[in-house]
């Protein structure tokens, strides 16, 4: 008899399955990209994107666009598992639920990261941006902020598939909890772009937020998955 695979093996396999599914269908990434593009274009009609002014608000716009697009992707993560009762099969299997949660979160992290890689150049072009502060800090903020959105988003998506009108439900429960993270990512980005103040506090806050909520998610995912 072969020994039972560990948490990491299951996480890796589950993640590989999600990536393969996404690679073949491209459901999440396509809808996310097009949605974010639309948001960016529509924002540019809302005000005059001249260089000085836009640097001050670009951080906010970029993250709001990414937030909306993330919700589009998150809504699809678990619905995929409802077809053919995959989720029920997972509940019956002895695999640790945390592995499933981690795989889903990492998958979403990758999707949103790809979105960001494609969106940021577009943003720079459309809004004529040039960072005053060091660019590597933006990278740190992006990684922390994306994880902050995705870890809670994946958890709340698992809550909202159990409700009526599930697509509406996710932003309603995700946005209020994410307000401090949003504030941190927007202000950190703005302070790096304008170079007017230090983003260190915000980066610390995002780190604390990520650590706290990753822990809470991992603890609470098991009762939520098995709720009935």
């Amino acid at each position: 008899m072969t020994p039972a695979p560990g948490v990491w093996t299951i996480t890796r396999r589950s993640l590989a399955k999600d990536l393969r599914l996404e690679w073949r269908s491209k459901d999440a990434i396509n809808s996310m990209l097009f949605f974010a593009l639309l948001v960016v274009v529509i924002f540019s009609f809302g005000f005059d994107p001249t260089a000085e002014e836009s640097r001050r608000i670009a951080g906010g716009l970029l993250w709001v666009a990414i937030l909306f697009a993330t919700v589009v992707a998150l809504n699809q993560t678990w619905t995929r598992e409802l077809r053919n009762q995959v989720l029920d099969a997972y509940r019956l299997s002895p695999a640790p639920p945390q592995a499933l949660f981690l795989a889903k979160s990492l998958g979403n992290f990758l999707f949103v990261a790809i979105l960001e890689v494609l969106m940021v150049p577009l943003f720079v072009v459309f809004y004529n941006l040039r960072s005053v502060g060091p660019v590597w800090q933006l990278l740190v903020v992006a990684v922390l902020a994306t994880w902050a959105l995705v870890v809670n988003g994946t958890f709340f998506a698992a809550l909202s598939i159990r409700t009526r009108s599930r697509e509406i439900m996710l932003p309603l429960i995700l946005f209020p909890i994410s307000i401090p993270a949003l504030l941190a990512m927007v202000d950190a980005t703005t302070s790096i772009l304008t170079g007017e103040s230090s983003p260190v506090f915000w980066i610390r806050l995002l780190t604390v937020y990520d650590l706290v909520f990753t822990t809470v998610c991992l603890i609470l995912f098991e009762p939520v998955l098995n709720a009935e």
């Binding site: 809670n152 958890f155 709340f156 809550l159 909202s160 159990r162 409700t163 009526r164 009108s165 439900m169 309603l172 429960i173 946005f175 209020p176 909890i177 307000i179 401090p180 504030l183 941190a184 202000d187 103040s197 506090f201 915000w202 806050l205 604390v208 937020y209 706290v212 909520f213 809470v216 609470l220 009762p223 939520v224 709720a227 009935e228």
Partner: protein, 230 residues
């Protein structure tokens, strides 16, 4: 239990009346703000009671996830509902006072903003409870209750920093330091009255929630019996 509860209601009604007298007639009129300041005797106790109720919701949510008692879930629901009502009172009485004193209804000051975010978090909790289906509601709600409470300190930190970095749009306000002792008396009486009132509401809602649970269970059993009969 019934007579005890009735005594509690009578005591609460008397206290609310006495608190009103204290706030409106006995406490001295504030020197610069005038009578408008008297809304403070309702504003502050409501805020304290709301925070207390959200804490109760957190404890009940944890208790539910550990022990799965039906009572814990009913208590979490009752505390969140009454807490949202009290938090709404805070958010409504604040602007009524701010308009004549600050000249504006609202400002994105640290305390105002964090109270608003707190209110949003617990409204989303109630929305989830309303939309979730079946027997899983308590677990999902308890999870969100814990998330909400864990978020509160982070919200406070973020918004305090956000507001200390930027200049305050409005200065003035901010009593607290030199409160007349008769004012303190009025505050404490009203705090007691509002806490008792909250207790009455929570008890009523708690009982109703338990009854709803029983009715739903009875329905589920009836459906099962019907299936077996067929």
């Amino acid at each position: 239990m019934k007579p005890l509860f009735n005594i509690l209601i009578v005591c609460t009604a008397l206290l609310v009346g006495y608190g009103f007298c204290q706030a409106m007639f006995i406490a001295p009129t504030e020197a610069t703000m005038g009578d408008v300041q008297r809304i403070f005797y309702y504003h502050l106790p409501s805020a304290w009671v709301a925070f207390l109720l959200f804490f109760v919701n957190f404890l009940a949510s944890c208790w539910y996830l550990i022990r799965r008692g039906k009572g814990a879930d009913a208590l979490a629901l009752a505390a969140a509902e009454v807490g949202v009502v009290y938090c709404s009172i805070v958010l409504i009485t604040g602007p009524i006072w701010a308009r004549p004193i600050w000249g504006i209804w609202w400002t994105w000051d640290a305390r105002l903003t964090s109270t608003l975010v707190l209110w949003l978090i617990y409204v989303s909790y109630l929305v989830l409870r309303h939309y979730a289906i079946g027997g899983q509601v308590p677990v999902l709600a308890a999870a969100l209750g814990i998330f909400g409470f864990v978020d509160v300190p982070i919200v406070y930190m973020a918004i305090r920093w956000f507001r200390t970095q930027h200049p305050q749009p409005v200065i003035a306000g901010g009593e607290g330091s030199g409160l007349d002792h008769r004012m303190w008396v009025a505050v404490l009486w009203n705090l007691l009255a509002f806490s008792m009132l909250a207790l009455v509401y929570v008890i009523v809602r708690y009982r109703q929630a338990l009854e709803v649970q029983e009715i739903e269970e009875a329905h589920a059993h009836a459906a099962l019996d019907l299936e077996e009969a067929q």
